[in-house]
Symmetry: C2
Subunit: 344 residues, 2 copies
DNA sequence: ATTTGTAATGGAAACGTTTCCAATAAAAAT
DNA sequence: ATTTTTATTGGAAACGTTTCCATTACAAAT
């Protein structure tokens, strides 16, 4: 059974192909009566326009690509990413766009895949997630060829982007620990500092300490790697320090879970011996014991904003390339308490 | 700057368009020499074949759609889903396929979206995730129009599918609790029983009990709803029972987290007062306290298998519609202990 | 010398739309 | 009555590929 095309419908309805096309594009310049006839014919024949043909002639795909540009290992794992995706989807669906997901880890292969995506015109626009400071791709990208919005932030690039305000989030978390009287405050990053989010959170942490005039110990700053395991490791090294920190700001709840394990393993109590503030407010955080005080980020909203921005760039190109930073919120739960000298 | 097409390359290289096309399709019937010339010309002009045009003439998109057919609420949230997606991606990328993600919740809108996806030829094949028993869509799907593999299982449908062996997983989990001497074993499902996975896990649980000849209390069977919150609720109702269960099989780690909270809230200890077995082995499970004994499922492998199956269906249509059920593995950790009469 | 076979190539047709231009009919303005 | 405008419509051209068929050149076989 060969596919039924627009010509079949035209013949059936006794009209020209142009008219059929106009009907299906909700063009107003076709009389009520023929419109009925065309629709009836299409229905009878079971006609649906072929999206590939439409794309060819229109030069538009109505597809946006979501580029996962994280390190080779965890492309989709992040529950955060899933929520962002949900946000994106909820807005593009309104405009009848579709989403292509493309994990393109930095490196020869991923770079080529990303570039080809643009050059072969797979999508009309890109949302790039998880940018790294050391990523040279933005320079080699066919310039201005395709609208891009960064989900994240890249200093120095004139790209539209939406991100959570990592700096302020970290600043407030640290400030909160300071307000509880803590002075030996360590930090474990969510991931390597080549990720701008990790860097920004560290900067917020440092700024809060500096403002209070507290000396900064380099050994108090550890690098996580997105996993509980990395948090476990980092916390162990922190616990071996003398004096050990009385509080730790951990820039990822997932990493924090491993860190908590390490603390328990050392027979220390949270928050009695060590206070903890996390970051992300994943679904599980409220159910840890004690419930984790953490920085909540509007994951879905980030996706929505990014998508909305991209939609704007796609419809009228005179849109300026905005940079939006969405506010976080510190969620107080049970993993912190005022400083008291419980350390050795 | 108008896009450079195959004609430009042909002119530049002094050959016909057919030849250029052949070069780019790695056809062997073109001499080494012209091949060089064409490639050089293409490189000079910066030519890349337009994917839409190619799709139109080939009648193939080289896109597969991943259909999220869960209930309206949580389309992407599941970390499990993310891993499956990763598995899918890792195999389709080898064949130069792309992935479209399409949350199509059951209902008028989602149904139409799913159907249009097929009828407008957005993709060559479908992987449908999260099937529900009560989903009528499979009957209204353009029959045999498009290769489909189910990520999950739907009894009675002659569809290719790959799923985890939920039944056996649940059976083994329950059997384990029985072997520890427990007799009052409750269960909380991962989600509503219209989801085949939830149903199968319940069946496995029941079968284990029946085999041991244990009376089944309907009040011991609770319905979760994918969230920690739902687990919290369910466990509270379980704890109010008299006698309360000495062990609970919870068919989702995420749900289990909420349940654990409820147990702690009642000032009971795991595993001293209640033993717990979860399901899924999410990243956090090993870091709970006590570490959660749970049923691990090969999430990524499911994605790989499903994708591989779909690739087969796409390449030669004589492939039979296989049904694969991947084995689970019970991971013993610290949330269970032999039965002792700690209950009131 | 002629025929046959093979490898390489050019170019038209086809894929299924949209869009533009011309044509027609009807209505309005002169 | 004639011209101008407006509302519909038909259909050719275009979008950028692939594929098929015909052609050419040349080697091999007769």
């Amino acid at each position: 059974m060969p596919a039924v095309t627009i010509k079949d419908v035209a013949r059936e309805a006794g009209v020209g192909v142009g008219t059929v096309s106009r009907v299906f594009n909700r063009s107003t310049l076709v009389s009520q009566e023929t419109q009925q006839r065309v629709l009836a014919a299409a229905d009878k024949l079971g006609y649906y326009p072929d999206v590939s043909a439409r794309r060819l002639v229109k030069g538009r795909t109505r597809i946006i690509a979501f580029i996962e540009r994280h390190t080779p290992r965890p492309p989709f794992v992040d529950a955060f990413m899933a929520e962002v995706l949900r946000g994106i989807h909820s807005v593009v669906i309104e405009e009848d766009y579709h989403i292509l997901i493309e994990p393109c880890a930095p490196g020869e292969k991923g770079d080529r895949r990303l570039l080809n995506l643009i050059r072969e015109k797979h999508a009309d626009g890109l949302i790039i997630s998880g940018p790294r400071i050391d990523d040279p791709i933005y320079r080699s990208m066919p310039n201005g060829q395709i609208p891009v919005v960064l989900q994240g932030y890249l200093p120095g690039e004139a790209l539209a982007c939406v991100d959570v305000d990592n700096y302020t989030g970290a600043y407030q978390a640290t400030e909160y620990l300071l307000s509880l009287g803590h002075r030996r405050i360590a930090m474990i990053s969510n991931g390597p500092f080549v990720y701008t989010a990790a860097e920004a959170r560290k900067a917020g942490y440092l700024a809060a300490l500096e403002k209070t005039g507290i000396e900064i110990f380099p050994e108090y700053i550890c690098e996580g790697a997105f996993s509980p395991e990395s948090g476990y490791q980092a916390m162990q090294s922190l616990l071996s320090l003398d004096p050990r920190p009385s509080a730790v700001f951990i820039a990822s709840d997932t990493v924090a879970i491993g860190a908590i394990k390490a603390i328990e393993g050392a027979n220390l109590l949270i928050p009695e011996d060590i206070s903890i503030v996390g970051f992300d407010d994943i679904a599980w955080s409220a159910y840890l014991s004690p419930p984790l005080t953490t920085v909540r980020l509007p994951a879905q909203e980030i996706g929505e904003k990014a998508a909305r921005l991209l939609m704007n760039l796609l419809s009228d190109d005179k849109t300026v390339c905005t940079q939006e930073f969405l506010p976080t919120r510190l969620i107080l739960r049970g993993s912190c308490q005022p400083y008291s000298d419980n350390s050795r």
